[in-house]
Amino acid sequence: MGRRVLLIEDEPNIIEAISFLLSRDGFTVHTHSDGETAVDKALSHHPELIILDVMLPGRSGFDVLRDLRASSETPDIPVMMLTARGQAADRDLALRLGATHFMTKPFANSEMRETVRDLMGEGEPKDEDVA
């Protein structure tokens, strides 16, 4: 079983694409689509990386991030924020709240894969680079 990634995103087709990409890179991807219960999911699954969308139903990704950082169980877990809003203010807020990385949509698949590998402290995948 590969290293665990928790993807918190409510767009089904984006979930499917990211899950496919990261699974082929050997990661185990859990997904969750609701902001209200996202922190509970993180606490119960103990992921090694969280990919967190900003615009979520229920609670915003910023609020989820704030709670993750405030929790004694997840203060240091790497979090990549994902958003269509690329303004500097959003980036600054995300980083101020403790996001490890900030990625805007749409993203290149290669950028997503490379960033996840970097955040997980891994190098190039063992198999041929596919996307």
Binding site: N13, I18, L21, K105, P106, N109
Partner: protein, 410 residues
């Protein structure tokens, strides 16, 4: 007791407290009993005349400060604030607060005005907020499509089931994109105002297609070039050009020759209004120069922009102040001419002639309307002084221009 006089007591009390004076101390200073002062302060006794003057002196205040009931707008704002906050038990009556603390009342009133302005802004931008959400949905759809398409194109050894799924995702997101795009177009699509502007733009394009043939009716010529003759403003322009033709017949234009360089002299010779001659020369096919017209109103806004090729009108920035149309606006009835050379050399050289007229729009109190007409004619010759100019300062290389508003952008 009048309501205005009622406030005097409250204001006296507020002033006394602000000055740190005791009731007995102030009463002694004005030679009345503390109990009487207490009645005054609670507006149970009227105060005026010499006693009021003495109280004001004892409090080191002008009498007016004790009698001024305060700005009624502040009172209204305080009442609004109470309603807004839905306070079940307000700390004191707004009239008392206004009387006792006019400075703070002013601050609260200012905050309330700001609050109401922000609420209004929120209502107006509520629609923009919904648009932001729709745009976010669009970006999400694009993200799905991009990611899914990249997987299909770049991933080796992807099995058929995954291929089918990602192709399906692309299809469904494309439909979503189409739906949302159409929704946005409907929401943000042309308003009635823009429909008017669209008709104007069609007219301008029709006029810019080249001179109007003198042997063809104006309306037909414009319509064949795409102008919207159902639009009242377009029809008015067609009628105007037709009227100009009747006043200045085409054969007259055939004989002007080199006098075309001085349309104002032509106007004097013909005994006709200069702006009429400018319009006539702009749209006729009886001379070979590329030509066009700009009409500006008193504010400097262009109500018609039909320049010749290479004479660019900036879409957003204010245009060059050296264009003689602005000279004309500043001095109605006085001809203004200038030969301008835009970036591009001789081929972008234009003889510009402008004239503004003033016309009452109604009775003695009605505004006087100013209309400036600028004829623009291509003139690649070296005749006359040439001023280097451009559509805007940012595009202009004339560093010595006294009218420069912003630096040139290189």
């Amino acid at each position: 007791m009048s309501s205005a006089a009622k406030g005097h007591g409250r204001r006296i009390r507020a002033a006394r407290l602000a000055a740190g004076q005791s009731q007995s101390g102030l009463a002694k200073a004005v030679d009345i009993s503390p109990s009487y002062l207490n009645l005054i302060e609670h507006d149970r006794r009227a105060v005026g005349g010499r006693l009021l003057t003495n109280l004001a002196r004892a409090l080191s205040l002008p009498v007016g400060e004790l009698t001024d009931p305060g700005d009624p707008r502040h009172l209204a704002a305080l009442k609004s604030a109470m309603d807004y906050l839905a306070l079940p038990h307000p700390p004191e009556r707004p009239e008392d607060f206004l009387a006792s603390s006019p400075g703070w009342a002013r601050i609260v009133a200012g905050l309330m005005e700001r609050c109401e302005a922000l609420e209004q802004q929120k209502e107006v931008s509520g629609q923009d907020g919904a648009t932001e959400e729709e745009l976010y949905d669009l970006i999400s759809a694009v993200t799905s499509i991009r990611s899914s398409a990249s997987i299909l194109v770049e991933a080796d050894g992807i099995d058929k089931e995954w291929q089918r799924r990602f192709a399906g995702n692309i299809h469904s997101e494309s439909l979503r994109l189409e739906e949302q795009g159409q929704g946005l177009i409907e929401r943000l699509g042309p308003s009635a105002r823009e429909a008017e502007d669209s008709a104007r733009r069609r007219l301008e394009i029709a006029l810019q297609m080249g001179p109007l043939p003198e042997d063809e009716p104006v309306a037909l010529a414009l319509e064949s070039r795409g102008a919207d003759l159902s639009d009242p403003a377009t029809r008015a322009w067609a009628a105007r050009i037709h009227s100009d033709r009747e006043q200045v017949p085409a054969p007259w234009l055939d004989n002007i020759g080199a006098e075309i360089r001085d349309p104002f002299n032509l106007a004097v010779r013909a005994g006709l209004p200069p702006d009429l001659i400018l319009r006539r020369l702009a749209f006729t096919d009886r001379h070979a120069r590329p030509s066009g017209l700009i009409i500006a109103d008193r504010s400097g806004a262009f109500s018609l922009s039909a320049p010749p090729p290479l004479f660019l009108i900036p879409a957003r920035s204010p245009p060059c102040a050296l264009w003689p149309v602005f000279d004309a606006l500043g001095a109605p009835g006085v001809p203004a001419s200038r030969k301008l050379e835009f970036p591009g050399g001789a081929s972008a050289r234009f003889a510009c002639h402008a004239f503004a007229t003033r016309q009452p729009s109604g009775g003695a109190d009605a505004p006087v309307l100013t209309e400036a007409t600028m004829l623009i004619m291509g003139d690649a010759t070296d005749v006359g002084d040439v001023t280097r100019a451009a559509p805007t300062c940012a595009a202009c290389s004339n560093q010595k221009c006294p009218a420069r508003r912003e630096p040139q952008r290189r």
